[in-house]
């Protein structure tokens, strides 16, 4: 090469070097950092994503900066290591820090998603208006900044449908569809079989026993108020019991833990007496509020059982620790006890301490069982059909996961597992 050319090249290199800013860093690929609205949310967060570096390793960390303007000044808002330790099957292994594939509810299971980091940032609001921020991130290695990204921004927008709950929506429609279909079907096919429920068969016997002995009946709708479906189910049974009680002119005491439940029970029993042609026999003083606290209510009901000595106790609804206390106190007075609860923790106590126990869904089936109304029986059939679909789906999902674990491959199998396990 001629000396003149060497001199020109040398001068050009000097000019280039001098024109660079003293603190210039290698810029990250333009467009590498992306900001976007988080899908399926209430407009409370945005997401940032950027590619996982090919040189990923320990000692490297990302620092996130934020500013009110595109040109700064930027403040650090978060930092995290590129590699993190996670425990997989009891062993500590190193993994790339959060990537898009870690959040399938937003991005799915595609393999390409392991190549993009993801972080979610809650937006700030002032006077109800979103404050728009600008973001950039920098990569540090052993404390030294290696590269820095472009500045990006995004606005969080409230979404009208939660796509991450699509599976829940589909299952809800399928199940409700089954229930409604079989309700209609039952109108044309009224003779539906329902297996015998000993506790419900004994209702009439219990009321009759109390009438013969001249003793009252005690009925309780449980620990929760009318906002619980179990209390509604109990009130549905109360309707039938109240009808019998009105016909036989037996006294029924209902100590309530909640005021709303008390007023509903009063209405139901009053209607039952009116329809039985005995409105004068209805006594609102026997349906009253006792206490709002768990054990205060329990003590009050125990006192009623011991003093009034009812011949029959109905403990139907959701119960907590007081279940055994109530049941055993009732057993000590020699009362026949019919219980029913959807609380799995208390079912064993009721099974042991009561004469009859409705377990879980039997409490909810009681209304259909007692009335034998085709529409209600049809809903039970629809419930069973929906349960069968769910069982088959769970078997398929489990089989899929097993196959995936053994031979790998197929995001379809992961989607199947996700469909039944993520709400």
């Amino acid at each position: 090469m001629k000396p003149e050319k060497i001199l020109i090249l040398f001068c050009a290199a000097c000019i280039l070097a001098l024109s660079l800013p003293a603190d210039a860093q290698p810029a990250m690929e333009t467009g590498a950092l992306q900001a976007f609205d988080i899908p399926s949310d209430a407009g409370t967060a945005i997401g940032l994503s950027w590619p996982v570096s090919l040189d990923a390793g320990p000692g490297r960390e990302y620092v996130l900066y934020r500013s009110l303007g595109q040109d700064g000044p930027f403040e650090e808002i978060d930092r995290f290591p590129e590699i993190r330790q996670v425990v997989v099957k009891g062993e500590k292994v190193q993994r790339i820090n959060r990537v898009k594939k870690d959040v399938p509810k937003y991005f799915g299971f595609a393999e390409s998603l392991v190549g993009e980091h993801f972080v979610e940032i809650e937006v700030e609001k002032k006077d109800g208006k979103q404050i728009q921020h600008y973001y950039r991130f920098a990569l540090f290695e052993n404390g030294q900044q290696q590269s820095i990204s472009d500045v990006v921004t995004a606005v969080a927008i409230p979404n009208w449908f939660a796509w991450n709950r699509l599976n829940n929506f589909i299952l809800m429609l399928v199940f409700c569809g089954f229930v409604l279909f079989f309700i209609e079907w039952a109108k044309r096919n009224p003779n539906l079989f329902i297996r015998r429920l000993a506790g419900l068969e004994a209702l009439d016997e219990a009321v009759g026993r109390a009438t013969e002995m001249g003793k009252p009946i005690m009925y309780t709708t449980g620990y929760h108020d009318m906002d619980r479906v179990s209390t509604l189910a109990s009130v549905n049974i109360l309707d039938h019991v109240a009808k019998k009680v009105a016909e036989y002119d037996t006294r029924m005491i209902i100590p309530c833990k909640w005021s709303v439940a008390m007023t509903v029970c009063q209405e139901v029993v009053k209607e039952a007496y009116t329809n039985a042609g005995r409105p004068d026999a209805y006594n609102a003083n026997d349906i009253y509020y006792v206490a709002g606290e768990q054990f205060s209510w329990t003590a009050a009901v125990d006192g009623i059982i011991v003093r009034e000595k009812p011949a029959a106790n109905f403990l139907l609804g959701t119960f907590a620790a007081e279940a055994l206390i109530l049941a055993e106190t009732g057993a000590s007075t020699g009362a026949i006890q019919i219980s029913g609860t959807d609380s799995p923790y208390q079912i064993p106590f009721f099974v042991v301490a009561c004469d009859y126990c409705l377990i879980g869904e039997e409490l909810y089936a009681a209304s259909a069982y007692l009335s034998r109304e085709p529409r209600l029986l049809g809903s039970l059939k629809g419930q069973d059909a929906g349960k069968m679909v769910l069982i088959l789906g769970l078997i398929a999902a489990n089989a899929g996961v097993l196959i995936h674990e053994l031979v790998g491959g197929g995001t379809f199998l992961l989607w199947l597992k996700y469909f039944f396990t993520q709400i």
Binding site: F175, V179, V235, N236, W258, T263, Y289, A321, Y364, A365
Partner: protein, 226 residues
């Protein structure tokens, strides 16, 4: 009048029920506002109804005292505790005292009367489970016998005696710790499986019952007369 007692409640139940069901799938703040408002209304109604409840309680016991009915002494005890708790609770609150402050009377009553009494009621379970176990755990049938044997096994496994016996048998050559490992297996496998099944059934029943109530098929809570 029938419209307000029959049709209107059904319409309200349907509209509110459908609104809240779909609000679960709509993350938009407007929809979340619906859920929050419904929850707020629910709290307001519950707490307003509390006035009815307290009134019912007071009238019930007042009537017993006035007529000197059997057991009216217990009604006097109700007033003896009810009135001071309400008065001091409203005047001084029941919050824990901050550093340097003395405890309010309401707080003292809560901590030294209510809390020990609740713990006492809870403790009664120990006595009642004993009498229930003696009375009801009988080998009346095959199912009851299996339940009895498993209950005995788990009861031994959950106390140090079971651990000691398991250790002795293990040292004698049994390849596993009988009561310790056996109890763990029972809790982890059949018990968990059964519990999951019961919970699944309950959850689906709740959905089905809710569908019946929302669509007005189930109307027993309104009282008969349809």
């Amino acid at each position: 009048m029938n419209f307000f007692k029959r049709q209107l409640p059904l319409v309200v139940v349907f509209l509110v029920g459908m609104m809240l069901v779909f609000a679960f799938y709509i993350p938009h703040p407007g929809s979340q506002l619906v859920i929050e408002e419904a929850q707020r209304w629910s709290r307001i109604i519950k707490n307003s109804a509390l006035v009815l409840g307290v009134l019912s309680l007071v009238l019930h016991h007042l009537r017993k005292v006035r007529r000197k009915e059997e057991g009216y002494g217990y009604s006097l005890v109700v007033f003896l505790f009810f009135i001071p708790m309400v008065v001091f609770g409203l005047l001084g609150g029941i919050d824990a005292p901050q550093e340097g402050e003395s405890a309010a009377v309401g707080y003292w009553m809560f901590q030294n009367i209510k809390v020990p009494m609740e713990a006492t009621m809870y403790s009664m379970l120990a006595f009642y489970i004993s009498s229930a176990a003696f009375r009801a755990f009988r080998a009346r049938s095959v199912d009851a016998t299996i339940m009895l044997i498993v209950a005995l096994f788990v009861m031994v496994g959950r106390v140090p005696v079971g651990d000691m016996v398991s250790e002795v048998l293990y040292n004698w050559g049994l390849p596993f710790r009988l009561f310790s490992d056996g109890t763990d297996w029972i809790m982890n496998t059949p018990m968990t499986g059964a519990r999951r099944a019961v919970r699944l059934g309950i959850a689906l029943s709740i959905v089905a019952t809710s569908v019946r109530i929302i669509f007005g098929i189930e109307r027993s809570y309104l009282g008969r007369g349809d």
